[in-house]
């Protein structure tokens, strides 16, 4: 299944606004993160500490009921305030 993953901050600067990744059905957040980092090994650590959001909600652990029409985003450590 192909998912478009929105990127922000340093990830966006390095990889663009969106990357498309190929993941199994009902993937875990880690599987999606790994799929993003495959093409960018130098960002592996940052992607590892990033959180996944689906439809603008942070995901919890376990498999995600996500489809290509959902809004998936990779949230690097935030630094507002």
């Amino acid at each position: 299944m192909k998912l478009n993953v929105k990127l922000f901050a340093m990830l966006q600067e390095q990889l663009g606004n969106v990357v498309t990744v190929d993941v199994p059905e009902k993937p875990t957040a880690d599987q999606i993160k790994q799929a993003v980092s495959v093409s960018s090994p130098n960002l592996q650590q940052l992607i590892g500490t990033s959180r996944l959001a689906v439809n603008q909600e942070f995901t919890s652990s376990g498999s995600l009921d996500v489809s290509p029409t959902d809004e998936v985003a990779l949230i690097p450590p935030v630094s507002g305030g």
């Binding site: 922000f8 901050a9 340093m10 305030g81």
Partner: protein, 133 residues
């Protein structure tokens, strides 16, 4: 009712403070974060903030709603875009009947905002550009 806003417009501290004034509240606590020049021996020139809209706004609502449910009023504004030294990056205000609650909730809100609201800073220091803090 809470007021929450994330935008490129400069933060008008006085206008936000006025939203917190109400005869039912006796104590108003505000936190204002401004762009600081020095962090240890690193000198900041300016900061650019970006946000994931509207997820950031939704996260703010999740923070504000339980506090408003306890009878307080919450006002939060975060600026995005280009900020110079001393510019206000964030305003967090809580009006409550009792000041202890207002202090506790205001600090909770800014602490949690800094952990859970998708906003990022890109700090241009004199020696380097740094993401995050």
């Amino acid at each position: 009712m809470y007021y929450l806003n994330i935008s490129d417009s400069p933060i008008d501290v006085n206008a936000l403070y006025q939203k917190l004034k109400d005869p039912q509240y006796g104590g108003i606590v505000t936190f204002i974060g401004t762009v600081r020049q020095w962090t240890g021996n690193i000198e900041t020139r300016f900061i650019d903030y970006s946000a994931y809209h509207p997820m950031a706004e939704r996260q703010l609502e999740k923070l504000a709603a339980p506090i408003e449910a306890q009878g307080a009023r919450v006002v939060i504004e975060h600026r995005t875009g280009h900020l110079e030294l001393t510019d206000e990056a964030v305003f967090v205000g809580v009006a409550a009947a009792h000041r202890g609650d207002a202090f506790r909730w205001c600090e909770y809100l800014i602490d949690t905002l800094k952990k859970d609201v998708p906003i990022w800073k890109k700090e241009t220091d004199t020696d380097a550009v740094r993401w995050g803090d």
